[in-house]
Amino acid sequence: MDDFEPTIIAFVCNWCTYTAADLAGTSRLSYPKNIRLIRVMCTGMVDPQYIIKAFLEGADAVLVSGCHPGDCHYINGNYKARRRVKLLKEILPKFGIDDKRLRLTWIGASDGIMFSEIMRDLVRQIKKIGPNEAKLQMVI
C-alpha cells in the first residue's frame, strides 16, 4: 500500500481555485502530481454525473473547489455545487464509495499557499483510505 499513488480529479473554478493554482505555480510552490485539475468556469456547472463518471473510471477521490461563499463570479454557483455535493454524499457511500473520497473546498484566487497545502493534505488522506474499488473492476 505504501507505493499507492492515488488519482484525484479536481474540478476547479476558473475564477478562484484555478487562479489559486496558477498563483501557487508562479510562486514556485509545489503540489503532488496525483491531482488532475479540470478547469470549469464555475463549480455550479459540475453536474453530478461528472463526479460519478470520475469514480466509475477509477478516480480515488474527486475534489470540487470554487470561490468562497459570497465570492462566486456568477453570484451563486458555489451554493448550487454545495447542494449537489451534499446529494452525492448521500448517494455514493451507499454503494461503498467512502464519503471522504468526495470533497468540496473553497479556495480563493489569492490562496496559492492554501491551495498547495490542501492538495498535499488531501493526497495524504486518500493514500490512507486506499484505492477506489471501482478501479480494479470491470465497471463502466
Binding site: 454525473q49 454545495r82 451534499k86 451507499k94 461503498g96 488522506q125 474499488e133 473492476q137 465497471v139
Partner: protein
C-alpha cells in the same frame, strides 16, 4: 379544508356508482373532458382514456388493479399550455404526487385541471395483472375490490401486489381536489366524497351531493394498512442496502440490464426533455471502447450501465414518488424501484423534502441557502 359528502351506491354496484359520478362531472358546463382509466376492448388492457362524451364511460374502471403507466406524464401533456377549458382527471395518489413534481418543474399546470382520486387499493405488476384477469374473467375488478377490503383476506392478497404498492404508505390521496373514500366505508351503500380544495367543493356543490360525515372507524381501518406497508418498506430498504453496498454488488444488481432505458421512459419524474444518455455524448468512438478494454483488460458491453443508473439516481431521486413504473417497465425483472426508493428515501430526507407532498416546497436542487450543509465543505479528517 375538507367538506364531506355522500354518494349513494345503488344495488351494491360500486363501479356503476363511480361511472355515474364521473359522468355527472363530465356533464358540468365547465368540464370539457375527463381522463380516466378504462378497459380497452382488446386484451383486457386498462389505459387512461380522455373522454368527452359521457356515454363513453361505460368501461371506466379506476379500481382495476392495473397500473401500466403513470398518468402524471399524460396529464402533463394535457396541461402544459392553457387551453381555456377545464379537464378532470382520475388519478392514483402516486400519479398525483408525480404530477405535483412536474408542476414544480414547470412541465405541467394545475390551473385547468380537477383531480379526482379514489382511495388506492394498489395494483399488480403488468404480468400479474394479465394473469389475474384471465383467471377471473368477468368483473375481475369487483372481485379485487371485495378481496382487498375484506380485512385478513385483503392483507393476504396484498402480498401479491407489485412491490411498489406493497411498500406504499399513501393509500389515501392527499393532493386531490375530490377524494373518493372506499377504505373503511360501507361501499355497498355509499361512498365518501371529500372536497379538499375550493375548486373541488364548487363541483360537489353543483352536483348537489348530500353532505355527510366521515364514517367512524375509517382511520382505524387505514392505520393497519399503512403500518403493514411501512414494515414492508423498511424491510425492503434493508434488503436493498445489503444487496448494493459496494460497487461490485451494485454491478451484480444490474447485471441483467441491457441499457434499454425503459425505466427512464416509464419514470414520470425523469424530467429532461432529452436524456444525455441518448445523445451523441454516449455515441463513443470505436477506439474509445478499445481503450477501455485495454486499460481494464475487459469491458462489459454495452458500456455505461452503472453510470446511467447512478446518474439517474443523482438527477431524479429527490423527485421519486415510488410509483414502481421503472420496475414494471424493466424487461429483465431487475428490482429497479427497490433501489430507487431506497436511495430516494435517503436523499429526500437529507433535504427535508418529500416528493409530491406540496407544490409550495421547491425541488431541493433548484434552490439553496447561504448558510447550510457546512459539514460537506473542507477537508478536515
Amino acid at each position: 379544508m375538507s367538506a364531506t359528502y355522500i354518494l349513494s351506491v345503488e344495488k351494491r354496484d360500486l363501479q356503476s356508482a363511480l361511472r355515474n359520478f364521473f359522468s355527472s362531472i363530465l356533464k358540468l358546463d365547465d368540464i370539457a373532458s375527463i381522463l380516466v382509466p378504462m378497459h380497452l376492448a382488446a386484451n383486457n388492457s386498462v389505459k387512461p382514456v380522455l373522454v368527452s362524451d359521457p356515454g363513453r364511460l361505460e368501461s371506466a374502471d379506476p379500481l382495476a388493479p392495473a397500473f401500466p403507466i403513470n398518468s402524471a406524464k399524460i396529464v402533463s401533456s394535457l396541461t402544459r399550455k392553457p387551453v381555456g377549458r377545464k379537464i378532470a382527471a382520475v388519478l392514483r395518489p402516486c400519479e398525483i404526487r408525480a404530477f405535483v413534481e412536474l408542476i414544480k418543474l414547470k412541465q405541467a399546470s394545475a390551473d385547468e385541471i380537477i383531480i379526482i382520486s379514489v382511495d388506492c387499493l394498489g395494483a399488480y405488476s403488468n404480468i400479474d395483472y394479465k394473469r389475474f384477469v384471465s383467471d377471473k374473467k368477468e368483473n375481475s375488478t369487483a372481485v379485487f375490490v371485495e378481496m382487498m377490503l375484506s380485512g385478513e383476506k385483503g392483507a393476504d392478497e396484498e402480498t401479491r401486489l407489485s412491490a411498489a404498492c406493497r411498500a406504499c404508505e399513501h393509500s389515501i390521496p392527499e393532493k386531490a381536489d375530490i377524494r373518493i373514500g372506499i377504505i373503511g366505508v360501507n361501499i355497498n351503500e355509499q361512498l365518501l366524497i371529500q372536497a379538499l380544495t375550493p375548486a373541488g367543493e364548487e363541483i360537489c356543490k353543483s352536483l348537489g351531493l348530500p353532505s355527510g360525515q366521515e364514517p367512524q372507524g375509517r382511520q382505524e381501518t387505514v392505520n393497519p394498512i399503512v403500518a403493514r406497508r411501512k414494515a414492508f418498506r423498511d424491510e425492503m430498504f434493508d434488503k436493498t442496502d445489503n444487496a448494493t453496498d459496494s460497487i461490485g454488488k451494485l454491478t451484480e444488481y444490474f447485471a441483467d440490464c441491457v441499457n434499454c432505458y425503459n425505466c427512464r421512459v416509464a419514470c414520470p419524474v425523469c424530467y429532461c426533455r432529452e436524456c444525455v444518455f441518448t445523445t451523441d455524448v454516449f455515441n463513443h468512438e470505436p477506439c474509445q471502447y478499445m481503450q477501455w478494454a485495454e486499460r481494464k483488460g475487459a469491458v462489459k458491453m454495452p458500456t455505461d450501465t452503472l453510470f446511467y443508473h447512478l446518474t439517474r439516481l443523482a438527477h431524479m431521486s429527490t423527485a421519486c414518488v415510488g410509483c414502481g413504473q421503472c420496475s414494471n417497465a424493466c424487461p429483465n425483472e431487475i428490482p429497479v424501484m427497490e433501489l430507487f426508493r431506497t436511495v430516494a428515501y435517503k436523499t429526500q430526507k437529507a433535504f427535508e423534502y418529500e416528493a409530491g407532498r406540496s407544490s409550495d416546497e421547491p425541488p431541493p436542487l433548484s434552490v439553496f441557502r447561504e448558510k447550510e450543509f457546512g459539514e460537506v465543505v473542507g477537508i478536515a479528517e
